[in-house]
Symmetry: C2
Subunit: 250 residues, 2 copies
């Protein structure tokens, strides 16, 4: 059994706790949380601590806190030469303090506390400062996911940026679609099959093959009529910029 | 049996031919195509015509051609007082010529010839100039789809604009994600579980509930580091505009 302890009680920590609790080869020793009430329903009380001095021996300490707090948390750890990983998509491995052995354990997914996920399907990108430690993070990652891969800090940041486009920004386009529906007394439900098909297409076609619509067809008449319908300046600006981007894409 | 004839051989016509060929209550009488070779594998030769004068009697003529051609095609029809529908999301019903009875038969979906679709799941928005004709288009629509609804021309255009945001623009964000992956020697496959989860979330959460990421968190440090990684001016512009739009959204 590999012993793992977690620091954090946010979305990522929440889903990692659930995944490790089910994993056969991992013992979740402790979770350190500034807000224990967030995770008290997931663990037994003796597993939850709120002070660094209470941290017990573990093979891997995973820091799952906001990017801004990672560096400081890593400096607060009251031990040396142990294996410490962060879970951030954007931070370099070197954001971790130098007194412990460094690694990154990056689950590429969008986590909301109110929606459970199948961790087996979540890609986990790994990085470590030395090969022996890589074996440890790899074994932990493989205990909860079927999609484990190696990635360096620059690639990881690029992947995170791509993920922002493909999840955060895509969801915001859903928001705009919902806003337009509401304005015109239409149910957002009508658009759900289209959302599903958009996703299904990208599983089997390249983005270039899957691209359709007035921008792709250079159908200026439809583009103009859409811009005339949109009253919101921000929606107009997004429509115009993305239309141009599709038209200029090689 | 309701007799239906189609004019057109593009993506929408292609998928309607497949759907009507399987429908129990509809007889697909003829398809008129400028490019018969596009659809010759879907129909028997005697069903395919290339001249308006060959059009036989039908209960409904569906014009599935590009928006720019709808009006002219409707004017070329060599008969009067028959029921004629177009399939456009953007065009008003009145784009059809006045010499026939007007209707709209709008399947809300993204069609690519290389990807088959389950028409039962595709919402079809209907409009007609009179109630008797509505019964006809409704019966035809229900023979191929389980999601048939009434929608007026303004609502339909709004729905089409929403669909552009949620399909065309979303797919372009996938394209940008793929471009970023390629630039950094990353497989696009890594992002597919994230795409799936983004879709799954929107089936059970509202767009506002599903929104995550640095823009939503007002995490300016991550936003700056992402903008520093992006070299392409167009990608930077899209990142900036969509980040602001998320931050300003109420």
């Amino acid at each position: 059994m590999i012993k793992v302890s977690l620091i954090g009680s946010g979305n990522v920590a929440h889903h990692l706790i659930e995944a490790f609790s089910k994993a056969a080869n991992v013992e979740l020793v402790q979770v350190m949380a500034r807000h224990p009430e967030n995770i008290s329903h997931l663990l037994s009380p003796n597993q939850i601590i709120s002070d660094y001095s209470q941290l017990l021996e573990a093979d891997l300490y995973i820091i799952a806190v906001s990017d801004a707090a990672v560096s400081e948390v890593s400096q607060q750890l009251p031990f040396k030469n142990k294996l410490v990983a962060h879970t951030s998509g954007s931070l370099a491995m070197d954001a971790l303090a130098d007194n412990n052995r460094k690694a990154v354990f990056y689950p590429l997914q969008t986590f909301s506390k109110t929606k459970s996920v199948d961790f087996k399907m979540i890609p986990i990108g790994l990085e470590s400062a030395n090969a022996t430690d890589f074996k440890v993070v790899e074994q932990v990652a493989k205990s909860i996911s079927d999609q484990v891969f190696t990635i360096n800090s620059v690639q990881r940041k690029a992947l995170h940026v791509a993920a922002v486009f493909m999840n955060n920004f895509t969801n915001h386009l859903y928001q705009i679609g919902a806003d337009i529906c509401k304005e015109h007394q239409l149910s957002f439900e009508i658009l759900k099959p289209l959302i599903r098909e958009t996703t299904e297409k990208i599983m089997v076609l390249s983005p270039a093959e899957a691209q359709t619509g007035p921008a792709k067809r250079n159908d200026q008449q439809t583009i103009d009529s859409h811009l005339a319908l949109l009253k919101d300046a921000n929606q107009k600006a997004i429509y115009t910029l993305l239309t141009q981007s599709i038209q200029n894409h090689e």
